[in-house]
């Protein structure tokens, strides 16, 4: 049976992709950003940790989805997904290969569990999905695992509540646990932490709030899943709302988890970069 033991969260700042694509990892600006991923890059490629498939929870940034159609939750079920052209050509990263059997299995179980999923087969994937792959896996010729893309709308309001995202995670976990193939599955939540990209308040960072959020991934998830949208917006900037995607990840793990690694750095472009690796406590 499939097994889900680890959850990872990280910001997906476009500039980090630029830094990697231009081989500027050792620049003074980028060095402290990438340093925090060294541990994870080592850890994740050990045979006992390396995922066969990652369920990668991300949001589209007006790349695959225009205002013509705005799904709340979409799950990618096609065989593969191409990196999106976000205005300066697609990132020079490998094509993203799905695990379509797992993706469909999860989609089917979610719909039967009253999640009104949108199934998507044609979806260019933007930095929201490819930057996390880069920070974890560096620059391989092909990504070392399959990736099931799970897209959450955090752009057009209203976006799903933290509690709904948490429950989606729980339902994903039940689906993975019932997948009849020996498969090492990880779940990643991406986006955040505090940042605001728009208007006169752009540049807002709330390190104290972010650190408490990281702490409570292990210490007080009841608080986290009940954080109302208005708190994300006020305290963490308008784009801090992306942290609801961390809750999908956390909801898919066991009630008790252990923090294996953490990285927090300001700034990455306009954003507080956060990263955490969590393991189920048996």
């Amino acid at each position: 049976m499939a097994d889900l033991q680890y959850g990872i969260a990280c910001s997906h700042v476009p500039l980090i992709g630029v830094g990697a694509d231009q081989n500027r990892e050792d620049d003074p600006y980028f060095a402290p950003i990438f340093a925090g991923f060294d541990w994870t890059r080592q850890w994740i490629m050990k045979p006992e940790n390396r995922p066969d498939a990652v369920i990668l929870v991300f949001n589209d940034h007006a790349s695959a989805f225009s205002q013509e159609i705005i799904p709340t939750f979409a799950i990618g079920c096609a065989d593969e997904f191409q990196p999106a052209d976000e205005g300066w050509g697609p990132r020079p990263v490998p094509v993203v290969k799905n695990h379509p059997e797992l993706a469909w299995h999860v989609a089917e179980n979610l719909i039967m569990d009253d999640f009104d999923m949108t199934i998507v087969n044609d979806m260019p994937v933007d930095h929201g999905l490819t930057v996390p792959l880069t920070v974890m896996f560096n620059k391989p010729d092909s990504w070392p695992c399959r990736v099931v893309p799970l897209m959450v709308n955090v752009v057009t309001y209203p976006v799903p509540s933290g509690e709904r995202c948490w429950k989606l995670g729980e339902s994903i976990r039940r689906a993975v646990d019932g997948f009849n193939e020996d498969l090492n599955v990880q779940i990643w939540g991406t986006g955040g932490m505090s940042h605001q990209l728009q208007g006169p308040r752009a540049g807002l960072i709330n390190a104290e709030w972010d650190r408490k959020f990281l702490d409570d991934m292990t210490e007080d998830t009841d608080r986290l899943r009940k954080i109302p949208h208005i708190e994300y917006l006020r305290e963490t900037g308008s784009e801090g709302i992306e942290m609801v995607m961390w809750l999908v990840m956390r909801g898919a793990l066991d009630p008790q988890v252990k923090e294996l690694h953490r990285h927090y750095h300001v700034p990455a472009s306009n954003t507080a970069l956060g990263h955490i690796v969590l393991e189920n406590v048996q």
């Binding site: 205002q67 540049g203 709030w209």
Partner: protein
């Protein structure tokens, strides 16, 4: 007041922030659709060749078109643009989110970068217009 109205009311109380709600989405539909058209290389080429002419095909108001031509991003947010869509415009200009963000805050790029290096804009005083905190 229901949950929806309460939330939208509270969001309006956040200083310097425009929530991309249904009202904005309707008002800015064509700003955002135009912006997304710039994701295609052939469209970027046409746009660069003659911005005004390119805009002729899009059913935006004169005000919206002027704001696009002027790269007035705060105005575009007010008129229904969403920042992830507007990003296609400044990306096509070869500019980053940091450039656009500086412009929206009224700071020079250097000052804005310095603020970020020093830990970013503090939340203190930036939470609520009403509460002034």
């Amino acid at each position: 007041m229901n949950r929806r109205d309460t939330f939208f009311r509270q969001a309006e109380d956040i200083p310097g922030t425009t929530l991309f709600t249904s009202g904005k989405a309707r008002q800015g539909y064509w700003i955002n659709q135009f912006s997304m058209s710039l994701m295609k290389p052939e469209n970027r080429k046409k746009w660069r060749a003659d911005e005004k002419k390119y805009l002729e095909d899009w059913p935006m108001t004169a005000e919206q078109k002027d704001a696009v031509l002027a790269r007035d991003y705060n105005r575009l947010l007010e008129l229904g643009g969403n920042i992830y869509y507007l990003a296609k415009i400044f990306s096509t200009d070869g500019l980053s989110f940091v450039h656009a963000a500086s412009a929206m805050t009224g700071m020079s790029v250097e000052d804005y970068k310095a603020m970020m290096m020093a830990g970013g804009r503090p939340v203190e005083g930036n939470r609520s217009i009403r509460e002034g905190n």
